[in-house]
Symmetry: C2
Subunit: 195 residues, 2 copies
């Protein structure tokens, strides 16, 4: 199944908020759709967290809903998705890159890494879903692998994760119909091998 | 330890967004403070979810951060807090009432109840923290008890949970210093009796 290339895709590598809002819309929609499917079928309860916003000014009109008049995007201190599956805490981040041969670590912030490390210390399941846009490949990678590269980078190591690393240590996910991105299947294989 | 009575407390029973923003500020701060303490001490990873906001219009000034110019509060479809503790998924809602003898079920929406039911089906831990403002009492109540009252209400049952019910089937929490509201202690007693 091919993911359609949208006309806005050329904007997606710049760093302002507009491109952030556009970036990975389709990939994100696929994940949200998968989560809805899981929810409706009683398989898991996993939601995307609301975008964190710093609200500065709100109007309270007399006969209608409050209107936020000034607010700013805040940098998320955690990951985008969390919830529960088979009693386990699930926590992940979804990222896209147009890079063909590696996934740049600049896609993450220190506090997101800190958060994922804490989750794993609490015996939660933490991972990333990475979409290589140029080849339409999607990989599931346990966050522990990400930590290796992140910590290595700070000691002079490389600033990206080679795609070959995802091929060797991650799990590929084929786009499906329902759910579109069946990442729970990977979690079953990795964390519930006896079920 | 007495919680100071603020001068804005008389506004808190009305239903507009302004009072919502004010309602339970101190109680919410106490919970957030407790979560920070748990996080810093490596005990759990539990966060308040960002307020869900429907963003309608955003300005992108050339040399500064994007400004949200029009947005609206959305009704939350889940609960306020979630995270992980001892590998288990934790999910709860904090509520306050000035009512002296009972806790009105109007504090909840159907989709929040649906969410908590799904969490428990997934073997997660779901509960409510209720603050009776008039007496400064705080109770932990497993969400299963809430469901009994919620479902009963829809079959002609009472529209509130008597305070005596919290005394008999909930767990009281005394305000402490650090953490201020030690709800993980209750979770230990109820869900990890052997630890
Ligand atoms: Mg993201
Ligand atoms: Mg609340």
């Amino acid at each position: 199944m091919q993911r359609p290339v949208t006309s806005s895709s050329s904007k997606l590598e710049t760093k302002d908020e507009r491109s952030y809002a556009n970036r990975g819309m389709t990939f994100e929609e696929d994940i949200n759709h998968s989560n809805s499917y899981y929810l409706q079928s009683g398989k898991s309860v996993i939601h995307k967290k609301p975008t964190p916003v710093q609200i500065v000014s709100v109007d309270y009109p007399k006969r209608s809903a409050a209107v936020i008049k000034e607010a700013y995007f805040k940098q998320p201190s955690t990951t985008d998705y969390n919830g529960v599956y088979r009693g386990k805490y699930i926590d992940f981040e979804a990222k896209e890159t147009r890079n063909k041969t590696s996934f740049p670590l600049t896609n993450f912030h220190q506090h997101q890494i800190d958060h994922m490390k804490r989750v794993i210390k609490q015996d939660g399941i933490s991972f990333i879903l990475v979409h290589f846009k140029s080849t339409q490949d999607i990989y599931f990678l346990d966050a522990k692998h990400l930590f290796d590269f992140w910590d290595g980078q700070q000691n002079g190591g490389r600033k990206s994760i080679p795609k070959s690393y995802f091929e060797n240590f991650g799990s590929p996910i084929q786009l499906g119909f329902n759910p579109r991105i069946d990442y729970l299947k990977i979690i079953d294989e990795l964390f519930f091998p006896d079920v």
